[in-house]
Amino acid sequence: MAALPEEPAEVVVKPDPDGGVPPQPQPPPAPPPAAPPTTAPAEGEAAAGAPGSGGEAAPPKPAPPGPAASPAPTDRQTLLAVLQFLRRNNLHESEDILRREARLLGEEVAAAALSPAGPGAQGTPGGVAAGASAAPGGAAVVAPPPGKVGGGVPVEDQPDVSAVLSAYKQQGDPALYEEYYSGLKHFIECALDCHRAELSQLFYPLFVHMYLELVYNQHENEAKSFFEKFHGDQECYYQDDLRVLSSLTKKEHMKGNETMLDFRTSKFVLRISRDSYQLLKRHLQEKQNNQIWNIVQEHLYIDIFDGMPRSKQQIDAMVGSLAGEAKREANKAKVFFGLLKEPEIEVPLDDEDEEGENEEGKPKKKKPKRESMGSKSKKQDPNAPPQTRIPLPELKDSDKLDKIMNMKEATKRVRLGPECLPSICFYTFLNAYQGLTAVDVTDDSSMIVGGFADSTVRVWSVTPKKLRSVKSAADLSLIDKESDDVLERIMDEKTASELKILYGHSGPVYGTSFSPDRNYLLSCSEDGTVRLWSLQTFTCLVGYKGHNYPVWDTQFSPYGYYFVSGGHDRVARLWATDHYQPLRIFAGHLADVTCTRFHPNSNYIATGSADRTVRLWDVLNGNCVRIFTGHKGPIHSLAFSPNGRFLATGATDGRVLLWDIGHGLMVGELKGHTDTVYALRFSRDGEILASGSMDNTVRLWDAVKVFEDLETDDFTTATGHINLPENSQDLLLGTYMTKSTPVIHLHFTRRNLLLASGAYSPQ
């Protein structure tokens, strides 16, 4: 089994392109600081070993600088001290050299110097390579305040919280803040219409930073009145952040407040046309308004473009995230969104054979790569990544069988469209007092798993075939291994039941995922672990520890073997089932990673976050290749279109947004739901998008229509300015109310029957 990390042998975390662009040579990753509770103790259990790991006896860390390489604690203290000294005296080169030799991370230097700040602060997009192994949740690994962007000023590697805050020290007269702000407000309101919308974007970041400055400098009363006076002017979609801000009234509170740190450590990105920017600059210089100018210079990143200023509507579509819009260059990288070529499989054509297999009940499966035009599988998609870009597990015989099954089912697939809507079968979880928190369905729709708030994972068989586990070792040895039905003989009939309960987690199970071959099941939980379960024995095989905080979501790669997880610690991790440590850590989100999805070609991972952005990561090198902003609330669902070109995202704001991955553009907005969209799924051929929500409805949308009238001219692509149709009602094909049952999972069977599920919650 080819494991990914062979080529890039060390764990790579690439700086987020959106962060401060650190020009410095990357310090090599280093072991975690003194005794992190994470890695080492985990080995024992993790090494217990997935059966799939082949002969590889749980290898040590993939990264060469293993724990053994770390210097003794006392030495390290000294080294840290020296490093600090060098830094203080601006001896950057010496510092770098020493650090490289000592294999120490910048963060550690910092971490050693201060008391740990709040959790989850690491992974901020400052661009520092947060060594994978060195991502112990508890240690405050804070990105440095980025220098002036583009100014070539060396990035300061000092992530000390107090240093971060000290940027607020240069203060003006607190009494004048309100005046500054209302002066600017007046200026913007009197500006020409075409500029007003663009300049209005300044209000929110300025408001936040001025407020924080006041608080930091302990002008509490001024801060309070400043807040009272102007918070009502801010756009309504910022209210969650404003609420956090409003509770922050003392300097002491600022330490450890994550939201505050986000504001400080990442620049708020605004996209403004050159004309509008000139106007602003002239105004501020005329007025000698240094206070605001300083904030603009230091805390905002203004992405200037040439051309027409954008309209209010265009701006509103794109803003709303915690740190402003994505920079244009953040979405410039090439993304191979095409599908991988399907391996040639001999398809037995006789129909009788097919029937036989059906009854045999040994249907095996693989993700639906075949999707659209059948002819395509012959030729390589120009947009597809090289076949071996990511090492993928080889197909087993059972996988091939399953692929054949899948193809046969595909021929019986219903062609959906506005005239032919799918039937929806709803699986209701009754008596789910424990709280249903996650659901997944196997690709062949034979099993359903539910994750519950009472820490259990329950697997149901929804076919007449019951769930059976393998016999015990003693009994297995008695079986004739040469017999034809050996696979049948190894199963223990006595254990057959429709429901199997898996116990092991110690907190609510927030995510579940079946492996494509249906032999394994993943679950992730509040207890910080991801667990791998065998569906042969119905026991836990591995507990992957890495996230020290609740893990919100996990998913298997469509080709198996790899899986991704994301959690409260703001990072997403890529794992392989036979490695107890993550292969990649995707850091960059400014808040919890709430959902994770693999691209159908397994080369990319999409993550949605509570910072209201969606990011697309390259599995090969860990780069963030796309940042999508536009949602006004935490993202809770993601779905790739079967052809890999588009991504649909749903959030607490009840809207579903559609993105063109290749161009990095928003291409559609589907309004209709009145509550969080928890489930999204494209039909097998991509004609219909189904969305399920907390508002007890399943809605069907015409995906073909959204994508066909796409304007992808060069201008749009270059500027990213989109004009979305105001009304998405003509895209809505159907709304189906459930009986007070929130819809939390959707799944299209291979024949395009839509399965939905949720727990009945009597009012």
Partner: protein, 681 residues
């Protein structure tokens, strides 16, 4: 059994727990309100002092407590915001104490143990000594009580149940799905036809609009097929579709046949289905026509049994919580009124107990008035007027007279007081004229007897309320004429009964817990969607109250119904009705019906029915009717034993049981409602 006794008011004793917990609630309240007006909510410094005192620290300086309050408020808000995150990830709408625990865990704080989510934790308020306290009450629990109570039922385990939410784009009307048109919507359509679905309402803003109005799902599929209308800028008034699917037609046929058929068990099931099935909205016009045509035909034929069955159908329709009948009252009211006041309802007026039908229908009309009378349609006043008119008329036969009085009496005490009591004297004279005078006809005598007992029955409770206690025969006679003395004894009885009931009220009521809804685990249907079984027998949730009541003694003596001689109208009029409606589709149907002006519909359709009714003055004895009815009727309303009939409680209060007790044709006592599991066919 860890719930050890705890002192009732514990304002701040476990300060670490009550503090955050209490304010956590307020914090989330703030977080959930969706206004852009944020405020700096702070705990009062006073609370800090109280808590400090509870911990044994006296004299906390003002400054310190202010600082503490600020800090604690900030931390609590922080925790509340984290807790919200857990709520969202848990895919819930309600914040639980568990969420707060997990949020504390995130902050490396020991969670609060021993707090479990309750639906609602009421805050109590107390003040004294110039201080105000908010706390939630923790009752003292006696351990022995807990030990001695029997164990509660084990909660049911999670299970999966599959059903069709949609079949090729249309939502089947099965109990698992919400009713296709919720009652509110039906009501809105009936009462405010222009307002019901405003065009563009659902487009407006999903962010603000509580887009439940967008729930007009079943119209979608049809509307798409008419692209001509689609493009029009002005949306037409939403049509309700009256086409029935094959399954619905089948259901309709089965139900109507069972309702008027000879098998009482089937009828009970059919009525049960009508009363509970959520998917009948589309069949309502058919049922309504079926009933009105049925009454029209059977009144002419004097077929008492069928009239009774039809009235029971009306009752079942009214009982269905998902139906709103307003639109169909123009058909139903005349039918019901006919059953109340028609001169003749049965072949042998001297023997058959048509009085009970009149009583039952009168109760139905009262229920209709109660449910649907508004200031715009004036149903109640129109009905009252009709009754009064026919009562006052000198030439009105005794049967109609009885019906009018019954109808009025059921409308409530106020109507009795204002309309019936003043006429007692006149009516008494009339009754006396028949009873004591020369024998005119036996029919008249029976009629007069019935009217008398009816008046006594309804007037006595009212009089008991409005007249001061000393009940004097003479004063009654003076006030109410010939009925006076009888009235007096009845009032005395009514008073005694009222006193007894008052005593009973004080007793604890026995609560009957309903079984939990749907416990079945069913296999997912695999393969292509199959047609849902529309003929669903209501599940065990709807095990009706009737079961409890039907235990009353009644006399199921003759289980096998005698050969029926009435017209089986299920095929004749039933099919003609459905042809008429089915062919006409929606537009013609509503036009045809609405063309009949409703106000005059009521009297107009009654009078022609009354005229052809022959009154064969057959002489006979008072015998309990045991003829055409499926089950024999005990003679509850025989004048020979008027006192044996159970006292009629005031209308409305005990509608269900009362009618159960009085209408034994509801089914033989102890009808096996467990047979609900069976199919209708």
């Amino acid at each position: 059994l860890s719930s050890s006794p705890c002192p009732a008011p514990c304002p701040g004793a476990p300060s670490s727990s009550t503090g955050p917990r209490g304010a956590g609630g307020s914090g989330t309240g703030m977080a959930e309100e969706k206004k852009l007006k944020l405020s700096h909510t702070l705990l009062p410094a006073e609370s800090m002092k109280v808590m400090a005192e509870a911990m044994g620290i006296a004299q906390v300086p003002e400054e310190t407590s202010q600082l503490l309050a600020d800090e604690v408020s900030y931390r609590i808000k922080e925790i509340a915001q984290d807790a919200l995150k857990f709520m969202h990830m848990g895919k819930r709408r309600k914040l639980t104490t568990g969420d707060v625990d997990y949020a504390l865990k995130l902050k490396n704080v020991e969670p609060l143990y021993g707090f479990h989510a309750q639906e609602f934790i009421p805050f109590r308020y107390a003040s004294g000594g110039g201080r105000e306290l908010y706390f939630y009450e923790e009752k003292e629990v006696d351990l022995s009580d807990i030990i001695n109570t029997p164990l509660p039922r084990v909660p049911l385990d999670v299970c999966l149940k599959a059903h069709w939410l949609s079949i090729e784009g249309t939502q089947p009307a099965i109990p698992e799905n919400p009713p296709p048109a919720p009652k509110e919507q039906q009501k809105a359509e009936a009462t405010e036809p222009l307002k019901s679905t405003k065009p563009g309402q659902e487009e407006n803003g999903p962010l603000k609009g509580q887009g439940q109005s967008a729930a007009a799902p079943d119209g979608k599929g049809k509307e798409k097929k008419a692209p001509v209308l689609e493009g029009a800028p002005l949306k037409l008034k939403p049509r309700s579709i009256h086409e029935l699917s094959v399954e619905q037609q089948l259901y309709y046929k089965e139900i109507t046949e069972a309702c008027v058929g000879s098998c009482e068990a089937k009828r009970a099931e059919a009525l049960q289905s009508i009363a509970t099935d959520p998917g009948l909205y589309q069949m309502l016009p058919r049922f309504s026509t079926f009933i009105s045509e049925g009454v029209r035909v059977n009144v002419v034929q004097n077929n008492l049994a069928l009239l009774i069955y039809l009235m029971r159908m009306v009752k079942a329709l009214m009982d269905n919580p998902t139906l709103y009948l307003e639109k169909y009252l123009h058909e139903l009211i005349p039918a019901v009124m006919t059953c109340i006041v028609s001169r003749q309802l049965c072949l042998r007026p001297d023997v058959d107990n048509h009085w009970a039908l009149r009583d039952f229908a009168a109760r139905l009309i009262a229920q209709i008035c109660k449910n649907f009378s508004t200031t715009t349609n004036n149903i109640q006043s129109r009905i009252t007027k009709t009754f009064t008119k026919s009562w006052v008329d000198e030439k009105t036969p005794w049967t109609t007279r009885y019906g009018s009085i019954a109808g009025l009496a059921e409308l409530g005490h106020d109507v009795i007081k204002t309309l019936i009591l003043p006429r007692l004297q006149v009516e008494g004279e009339r009754v006396r004229g028949i009873v004591e005078g020369p024998v005119v006809s036996n029919i008249d005598k029976i009629g007069a007897d019935h009217v008398q007992s009816l008046l006594l029955k309804h007037c006595a409770p009212v009089l008991a309320k409005i007249r001061p206690p000393p009940d004097n025969q003479d004063s009654y006679k003076a006030d109410y004429g010939s009925l006076g003395s009888l009235l007096c004894t009845h009032v005395v009885k009514a008073r005694a009964q009222a006193a007894m009931q008052a005593q009973q009220v004080n007793r604890t009521t026995l609560t009957i817990t309903q079984p939990r809804p749907t416990l079945t685990l069913s296999q997912a249907p695999q393969g292509p969607p199959r047609a849902p079984s529309i003929i669903k027998v209501p599940s065990s949730i709807t095990l009706p109250v009737q079961t409890l009541v039907s235990g009353r003694p009644s006399t199921p003596t003759q289980p096998s119904p005698p050969p029926t001689k009435y017209i089986v109208m299920s095929s004749a009029s039933g099919s003609s009705a459905s042809q008429q409606v089915g062919g006409g589709r929606d537009g013609t149907f509503s036009l045809q019906r609405s063309g009949q002006p409703r106000p005059c519909a009521t009297p107009a359709s009654i009078s022609p029915l009354r005229s052809p009714a022959l009154t064969p003055p057959g002489a006979g004895m008072l015998l309990p009717l045991a003829g055409a009815l499926g089950s024999p009727l005990p003679s509850l309303h025989c004048p020979s034993a008027p006192t044996s009939s159970p006292p009629d409680p005031p209308l409305g209060a005990v509608w269900g049981p009362a009618y159960q007790a009085q209408l034994p044709w509801e089914g033989p006592g102890g009808l096996p409602h467990t047979a609900l599991g069976g199919r209708l066919a």
